[in-house]
Each structure stands twice: as structure tokens, then as C-alpha cells.
């Protein structure tokens, strides 16, 4: 394409001696622009403080804390079984990973063996949650570029998937289904058949999304080559999940250190090469296909009956000996982990939630946002797929 207006980068802010940017707001060259928290282009309730020069961002600072509820403190005040209803509230769009990681931590420290059936059901729920989360993402990514109709389609499919959740767990958003020791219940009758219908609908929508969004010339123009994560940043900035896979590194906890029953399933991590917004979106789109396939495999291979709950000790006196552990899982945004420390009492000593958004939305975003156009900030932020509630808990 013709390059009629080459970007002029000579007037960029000079650096001071200590490495910070020399930005004089009164000079009239720079403008401070707050994107968020009340801003539709922000993923959830957070804000980015942009300093712009013309249309280009010269500095961006993320501000979080608008959703801080003090979970890690609240969990210390609750017994092990009381924690389980509130963990799912940590991350709203994909709550099941909190439940799984917490349950796995407790099981490991308390030495509880989870029944085989429960593992399969857990894996299925996690994959269903992953599809939901990706559907939110695809809609958001298209919406950030002004293509609202994709969001309509994907949210419709997400609603169908929420119906399956409702059937299985009785709740739409916060399922509270995976608890320490297993899961609450077996699958209802005829669940596999209805699941198959939903999966077909997901596939149909994905094809439409591919045609309208990924083959769209304007979408490509806006996203190809935009917001590149350099592969050398992956380790220093702790990039995981699809963001890392889009850079060509097949980082997938499901494959690297299989948990639950992922070692018995047949799948390959999806990777991309270019590490721009388009590739990240494409990796996630193909990841939905993987998830759809995984759910089919799980439904086909899972045992037909069996216990779903290990016998727990009396939960009122449940004391876990001193110890610490870390359990991770691959959620739709990257590595999700819980760090649990117990001290022999009936209450956890400390729980730390390691959300992937924590590294993506803070240090990485601040690095990537420099030099991008104001119009692309929203798309860039969405493309990292961050959810603020898991940053600040």
C-alpha cells in the first residue's frame, strides 16, 4: 500500500537521566487521556492513563483496583469448605478455574484422592468455560473495532453454552460445582446429546465468524502487524496462554504438565507465528475448535458411572496440616494458578491467586501501548484478553 503519511517519530519525548520520559504537559504537545474506568473500550473495570502526542501514545499506565474485594483476606477468615463458594467470584467470565485450582490445592494438601468420574466432569466443565470465555473474547475483539454483529452471534452461542451449564450445575454464571473432593453431581440424562447440539451450533457460528471477521479486509487491515509481542518478551513479562502461543511458543499447561485427564486426550496446542492482534484472535478461534473436539472426546471416553465425590472428613473440623502448594491450569487467558499455604488450623493461612491477566494487563500492556494509535488501544487491550477482577481480586 502507498505510504503517503510516514509516521514522524522525531518529536518523541526525550528521556530524562533516570530513564523516565520527559513529558511536559503544559507545553501543549501532550495530552493526558484517561481511558476508563467508565469507558466501553476497556475490558471490564480498569483504566489506562494515556499520554498522547497527536494520535500516538507515548506513555501508558495501567490503573487497577476498582474491583478489589480483598478475597485473599476473606478466604483466610473462612474454613476450607466455606472458601469454596466465594472462590468462583474471583474471575467473573470464567469462574470454574478458580474452583478447580482451589479444590486441587486442598485435595493435594489434605491427601484426598478424587474419583475418576469427577476428573472427567471437571475437565469437561473447564472446557465449556473456555469456550464461553473465548466467545466473549471474539465478540469483544470485533466490537473493539466496531463490528458489533460478531458480538451478537457469539454471545448467542455463549447463552446456549450457559444453558448447558445451567442444566448441569443449576447456575448461569457462578456454578459452584467443583468442590474439594470432587464435583457435586453426575451428568443429567441425555446431556451428551444436548451438548452435541450446542457444539454443532458453536461450530456453525465459528464458521460464520471466520467468514465475516477473519476474512474481512478491513479487519485484517486494522489488526495485521498491530500490537506485536516480541518473542523475547515472553519470559521477562511472564506471558502465557494464547498470547504466548501466538508468538510461536507452544506453551500450554494442558500439554506441558497435564492435569486431570488431559494426558488421555488427543490434542495439539494451537500456535501462530506473527504474534500480532490478528494472530492472537486466530489462535483463540482455532482453540475453540480444539475445545469443541476435547468436549466430544471427553463425552465419548468418560466412564459411564461411578462416584463423583470422595468422602470428606467432617468439614466443620477439617484441619489440614502445615504445607504449601501451587496448582496451575490452562485457562483461556493463560496460566491460572492457586498458591495455598496451610498452617495446621481449620483455616487457610494464605491463598494467592495467580491470574494471567496480572502480568498481561500490567507490565506487558504498559510496554506494548507505547507508540500505538489511540484508536488501537481498545483493540490492543482486548487482544491480550485480560479480565480485571483476577488482577486485583
Amino acid at each position: 500500500m502507498l505510504d503517503i503519511f510516514p509516521p514522524d517519530r522525531t518529536q518523541y519525548p526525550a528521556k530524562k537521566a533516570d530513564g523516565t520520559l520527559d513529558i511536559d504537559l503544559t507545553s501543549g504537545k501532550y495530552l493526558k487521556l484517561w481511558q476508563g474506568p467508565n469507558h466501553p473500550g476497556i475490558t471490564g473495570n480498569m483504566s489506562v492513563e494515556l499520554t498522547v502526542c497527536g494520535d500516538e501514545v507515548v506513555e501508558g499506565k495501567t490503573h487497577v483496583g476498582y474491583l478489589h474485594r480483598g478475597f485473599e483476606k476473606l478466604m483466610e477468615r473462612r474454613t476450607f469448605i466455606q472458601v469454596f463458594p466465594i472462590v468462583c467470584r474471583v474471575c467473573v467470565p470464567e469462574p470454574d478455574f478458580n474452583e478447580y485450582c482451589y479444590a486441587a490445592c486442598v485435595e493435594e494438601l489434605a491427601g484426598i484422592e478424587v474419583p475418576e468420574m469427577a476428573k472427567w466432569i471437571r475437565a469437561m466443565i473447564l472446557e465449556m468455560g473456555r469456550i464461553n470465555s473465548y466467545m466473549m473474547y471474539l465478540g469483544g475483539q470485533a466490537g473493539a473495532l466496531g463490528q458489533g454483529v460478531i458480538g451478537q452471534w457469539t454471545t448467542y452461542v455463549r447463552d446456549l453454552m450457559l444453558d448447558r451449564f445451567e442444566e448441569l450445575t443449576g447456575a448461569r454464571i457462578y456454578h459452584m460445582f467443583i468442590l474439594p473432593g470432587g464435583v457435586r453431581d453426575t451428568l443429567p440424562d441425555g446431556f451428551a446429546g444436548r451438548m452435541e447440539e450446542t457444539l454443532c451450533e458453536v461450530e456453525k457460528t465459528l464458521k460464520d465468524v471466520y467468514d465475516v471477521m477473519f476474512c474481512n479486509a478491513v479487519f485484517k487491515k486494522r489488526t495485521v502487524g498491530m500490537g506485536v509481542i516480541d518473542p523475547s518478551w515472553l519470559e521477562p513479562y511472564g506471558v502465557t496462554g494464547p498470547n504466548a502461543r501466538a508468538a510461536g511458543v507452544a506453551k500450554d499447561v494442558r500439554k506441558d504438565s497435564p492435569y486431570l485427564i488431559y494426558d488421555q486426550l488427543d490434542f495439539e496446542p494451537v500456535t501462530g507465528q506473527n504474534s500480532d492482534i490478528y494472530t492472537r484472535a486466530d489462535v483463540r478461534r482455532r482453540d475453540v475448535w480444539v475445545s469443541v473436539d476435547l468436549i466430544r472426546q471427553i463425552l465419548a471416553k468418560m466412564p459411564k458411572s461411578g462416584a463423583v465425590m470422595a468422602p470428606l472428613p467432617n468439614v466443620l473440623h477439617w484441619q489440614i496440616p502445615r504445607g504449601e502448594t501451587y496448582v496451575r491450569g490452562e485457562c483461556s487467558r493463560g496460566e491460572y494458578g492457586y498458591y495455598l499455604v496451610t498452617d495446621g488450623s481449620g483455616y487457610p493461612r494464605r491463598i494467592n491467586v495467580r491470574g494471567p491477566s496480572y502480568t498481561h494487563a500490567m507490565a506487558l500492556l504498559e510496554r506494548m501501548i507505547v507508540g500505538c494509535n489511540i484508536s488501537d488501544v481498545a483493540a490492543l487491550m482486548v487482544s491480550l484478553h485480560t479480565y480485571p477482577p483476577e488482577i486485583e481480586r
Binding site: 500500500m1 502507498l2 466496531g146 463490528q147 454483529v149 451478537q152 448467542y156 487491515k221
Partner: protein, 301 residues
Amino acid sequence: MDFDWMKIPYAFLTVFIVVNYGFLMGALIQKIGARAGRRHGIPIWQYYLDVIKNYGLRTSITHGVMFYLGPVFRLSGGVGLLLFMPVIYGSYMFSNFSFAGDLILALYFVFFGTLGMALGAGESGHPHAAIGVTRGLQQVSMAELPFAMAVFSVALQYQTLSITEIVAAQQGGMMNWTLFTNPIAVAAAMLAFLGSMMRPPFDVFIAPQEIPIGPPTEYHSSYLALMQTNRAIFPVAKIVIYMNLFFGGAGSWPELFVKVFFLYLFSAFVGVCFPRFRVEQSIRFFLVWAVPLGVLSIMVV
């Protein structure tokens, strides 16, 4: 100078009809767009309610004189465009104040509202409004360029600057429309049309995800209602120009309604399924695709 005073109430009648038609058509287009997202969309009378609600709000805050005048300019741009144009060809009642050189005046009025908006939005002091309006001005000036060229081409083709005469020249069957007699100019103008209809892919200046929602960020209650009224008039007025210049005009109200509706639908169709360009990308798009077409159309004529 023989001014026919009877034209004034007739002109108001035109405006009245167009306002109502604009509201209903806007809602209908919205509904059609919603169907693409498998929704039902808003009720067809929703825009009336919104306007009444906004006029009925109890407080409104001003940021200065230009803040008041912004919506007024915008509305006068829309109304003025409509008033100085023959809406229905061959009708005494609805020819309004059209005169020999009205094409030039119409070109001016198309831009007038945007300029007024720029002043008003600048006064409101919100950075998003300022960013939005600079983007809007850049893009609209770029989109107007091919349109102006197409208009010149048409004016050269018919050797007149009067819209009425242009319409008259296109009568007598579809094959006489400029669409078929000068297709290059129409192509250039239709690209410009997309660029000025505030729909994707050329709606970066009101992009809710980036600069919510651009120039009208600070506008509320009656100012906003005024702008909504204009939102109903202005597109119709603009489409009427396009219709007069390129699609043979309209001999009666039903014909006008149908033609305007389909032209509007064209922009809505494109808008539903495209993301938006960045402002420099859209400028480049116009420079690379639309302006050469416009130049070509002038040269061909």
C-alpha cells in the same frame, strides 16, 4: 424579485414530513441491522420517545456560547440543505427555495453542520470530543473531495448548476439516470456517501470503543434532542441530493421514500458487517480509490 410567500409554509410541510420519515426510517434501518444480529431491535417509534424524553429532561448544563450553537448549526445545516433543494421534482409545493445555483449552496450546507459541530464540541472541553471532531473533520473533508468532483462532473455533463435542471435532464426512464450515463461519477460519489453516513467502516470519529462517543460526548438533554432531530433530517436531506443528482430524483413522495430508503439501506448494509477504519486508513482509502474515480469522471465528461 418575485418571492412567493406561499412557499414558506410548504417548506415547513416538507421539513415536517422529512422529520417524521427520518425518525421512522432510522428506526426501521436499526431494526434491519438488528436482524443481522438475530435480534428484534428497537420499536419503530423509539426515536420519538427518545426525543421527547431528551426534551423533557429537567437540567442541562452549558459550557459556553458555542456549545449552544453547535447543535443549532448542525440542525440548520440539515434544514438548510433541505430547504434549498427541490425535494419532489415537478411539484410546486415541494420545490422549496431551489434556484439556479443551488448545487453550490447544497455542497456548502453538507459541510456546514460538521463545522458547527466542531466548534460546539471544541467548546465542550472534553478531550474525546476534541479528538473525535478532528478525526471527523479530516475524514469528512476527504470524503467530500470525491463527492465534489462527482458533482462537478455531473454539473459539466448537464451544463447546469441547478438541481432542478439536473433532475429534469434525467427524466424519462431509468436509462437516463446519471447512474447509467455517468457511472464513474456515481461510483466516486457513492464511496463518499459511505464516508459521510457515520456508519462503519467510516465511523471512527464516533467510535464508542475508542472515544465514546466522539463529538457529542458532552451533549445532553435538549442539545442532544436537537441533534437527534438533525440525525433524522440530515441523512434524508443528503440522500435527497444524491437521489436528485444521480438517481433521477423523485416525482412523488412514495417514490422519494422508496429511493431514500434503499440508498440508506446501502450504507447500513455495508455498515453492519465491517469493522471501522482508522482515520488515516480511511483517508488513504479515499485518496487511493475515490479521488481518482472522481478525477476520472471529470476527465471523461
